[in-house]
């Protein structure tokens, strides 16, 4: 078990940032989704042992949140969203300093810095000052400093923030590879739902200080049997009217003959063909309308 929280609450004066959070997460690639002010940052601070919970208890990597402190942060690599660079140092010195701050001996920190900078494709830029790096390079050097001590888990706060599409792909590939091929547990805190969909196998949705939903990406972006995408050739008005009369609901139309339709249960797709024949239209495709993480997120947050 990577994470185990029981009735965790954190208040700041009269404001409650986290309400009675109970969560169990297995190691893997975990997406932490939530709008601004949802409580994600407070949760990250608590997971790093920087902020004690007001009430409740929990463990991360088997270490108690209240007493884990430095040992907890030693097992976790944190990539902050803010610049968090030390102007004046080269990439190599910056990552080496991070290694030494984690407690690595100096020589080993230097050797390891060369390795991780090569891994994040910054080997040619390692002797340049970090303030001269491009945005993508800054993000990668921040990932390198989080990786330098080979932690069991990585907390990544908006790792693709501000990156161009190519840079974003590189970063997501690195994160996915670290989780999939090297057994790192990744906690990806982001508002970019596509990042979660691309990388994570588990999702936790936080809103209003509550955990609104939790599960695997596959389960949560479920293949729904009550929604279909139907593409029609011909005049669809009467076809859609008959569908509606039969209890179905047209959710959306793309203007090019494709409709998203919610159907009542039980339902057989034979009915689409019958109505198409009756209304002289041709069905070009019928595919299940799976819910994306984005839709899932909006549905969950709106429900909250």
């Amino acid at each position: 078990m990577f994470l185990c929280l029981d009735s965790l609450t954190r208040t700041f004066g009269s404001f409650t940032a986290l309400h009675d959070v109970t969560l169990r997460l297995e190691p893997g690639r975990i997406g932490l989704l939530g709008p601004n002010g949802a409580g994600k940052s407070t949760l990250l601070k608590i997971l790093m042992g920087l902020l004690p919970p007001t009430s409740g208890s929990g463990t991360v990597l088997g270490l108690d949140l209240r007493t884990g402190g430095n040992e907890l942060r030693r097992r976790i690599g944190f990539m902050p969203e803010a610049d968090a660079l030390v102007p004046g140092l080269t990439g190599l010195e910056y990552v080496t300093l991070a290694g030494e701050l984690y407690g690595m001996p100096r020589r080993q920190a230097q050797r390891r810095s060369h390795e991780v900078l090569s891994y994040v494709a910054l080997d040619e830029a390692r002797f340049r000052k970090v303030e001269d790096y491009s945005l993508g390079m800054k993000q990668r050097v921040k990932l390198a400093q989080a990786l330098v001590h080979d932690p069991a888990a990585l907390l990544l706060d908006e790792p693709t923030s501000g990156l161009d599409p190519a840079g974003r792909d590189v970063m997501l590939n690195l994160i996915r590879e670290l989780g999939r091929d090297h057994g790192k547990t990744i906690v990806l805190s982001t508002h970019l739902l596509a990042d979660v969909q691309a990388v994570c196998d588990q999702v936790v949705v936080v809103a209003g200080g509550h955990v609104r939903s939790q599960g695997t990406t596959a389960t949560m972006c479920t293949s729904r049997s009550d929604r279909w995408r139907v593409k029609v050739q011909g005049e669809p008005t009467r076809f859609l009217a008959d569908l509606t009369a039969g209890g179905a609901t047209v959710i959306a139309a793309d203007g090019r003959g494709e409709f998203r339709i919610a159907v009542p249960q039980p339902w057989s797709n034979r009915r689409f063909f019958q109505l198409a024949e009756a209304n002289a239209v041709t069905l070009r495709s019928i595919v299940r309308d799976d819910e994306s993480v984005e839709e899932f997120f909006l549905r969950t947050v709106n429900a909250a």
Partner: protein
């Protein structure tokens, strides 16, 4: 898989971690590196070197004159002046391996280091807040005590490189110039005083710089505040005591003078013989320094919170 591919792949690391106190040392080394990289500061380092060489060769010159040429004379502007008379002038500079030699030397060098620190405060500490580097430090297995210790240690290293270390060289040089078999034993108080003065400067300037840099973050306001503390307060103290004949305790607002008084006390020198005008007692100056240090520490305690890691 080619060797290059293998190199680019992620490799696990196994090793022993060291205690958090070692992280403070790493931070101090980085701070020193950052200060040495600023080309602007090298002019001040050159000035510091000049002061050191003045004292170094001045001590040598005084001994040489005493031993070799005290009864000879040299023409100055057409007038023959006995070289022995030069010694009276040089006596005022105290270039004789006494407590005042080291007190004066640290006074001058301390000024240089204070100017450099005023300009470097934003680089060393202000940037951690201004550019968001604080999360980089506090997300590591150290707490704010180690962070502060690392920063103050870095400042202390710099101050001691400019003051204590060259003062120790002057001390050992003086021993070699005079009778080394007796000098070191008879002047042990000066040795302890140099180390204590260095420690005093390290702690007081370290805490004060960290607190002011955390407060104002940027270079120009930091320089203005330090100019106020070390120049304006000094002028005001002198004006009140020497000009308006106020009680000498008004001079306590001059923090640099307070450090000097306590430094001279550590060296075993009488400040009255060295400073013009009435001076407060060294213990009063020490109280002011301790109060400033405690205020700075209390401010830092409240300001540097681990919760700022994830903004």
């Amino acid at each position: 898989m080619t060797p290059t591919d293998a190199l680019l792949r992620y490799r696990p690391w196994t090793g022993e971690f060291r205690p958090p106190i070692c992280a403070s040392w790493a931070m101090a080394r980085s701070s020193l590196r950052l200060m040495m990289r600023r080309k602007l500061f090298w002019a001040l380092y050159a000035l510091a070197a000049l002061i050191f060489f003045f004292f170094f060769y001045g001590q040598y010159l005084v001994v040489w004159i005493q031993l070799q040429t005290a009864n000879q004379s040299v023409p100055v502007l057409g007038i023959n002046v006995r070289i022995g008379d030069f010694l009276k002038f040089l006596d005022r500079l105290n270039l004789n391996g006494s407590a005042h030699t080291f007190g004066n030397f640290i006074w001058f060098q301390g000024y240089i280091s204070t100017i450099v620190l005023a300009m470097a405060g934003a680089v060393l500490i202000g940037n951690d807040f201004h550019h968001g580097s604080l999360p980089f430090y506090l997300a590591k297995p150290i707490d704010k005590r180690h962070y502060l210790l690392g920063k103050i240690l870095g400042i202390g290293l710099f101050v001691n490189l400019l003051t204590t270390l060259p003062a120790l060289i002057l001390y050992f040089q003086a021993g070699l110039l005079y009778d080394w078999q007796t000098y070191y034993f008879e002047h042990l108080r000066e040795l302890v005083g140099i180390l204590a003065y260095g420690l005093l400067l390290t702690c007081s300037l370290g805490l004060l710089l960290t607190a002011t840099a955390v407060w104002v973050k940027r270079t120009v306001p930091l320089i203005m505040i330090w100019a106020g503390l070390f120049v304006l307060c000094r002028m005001l103290g002198n004006f009140l005591v020497d000009g308006q004949r106020f009680d000498e305790r008004w001079r306590l607002i001059d923090l640099w003078n307070d450090l000097y008084l306590v430094g001279l006390w550590c060296l075993g020198a009488d400040p009255i013989t060295d400073r013009a005008g009435p001076q407060p007692q060294p213990w009063e100056a020490l109280l002011v320094i301790v109060a400033v240090g405690l205020l700075s520490a209390a401010f830092l305690r409240n300001r540097i919170q681990g919760v700022e890691v994830v903004s």
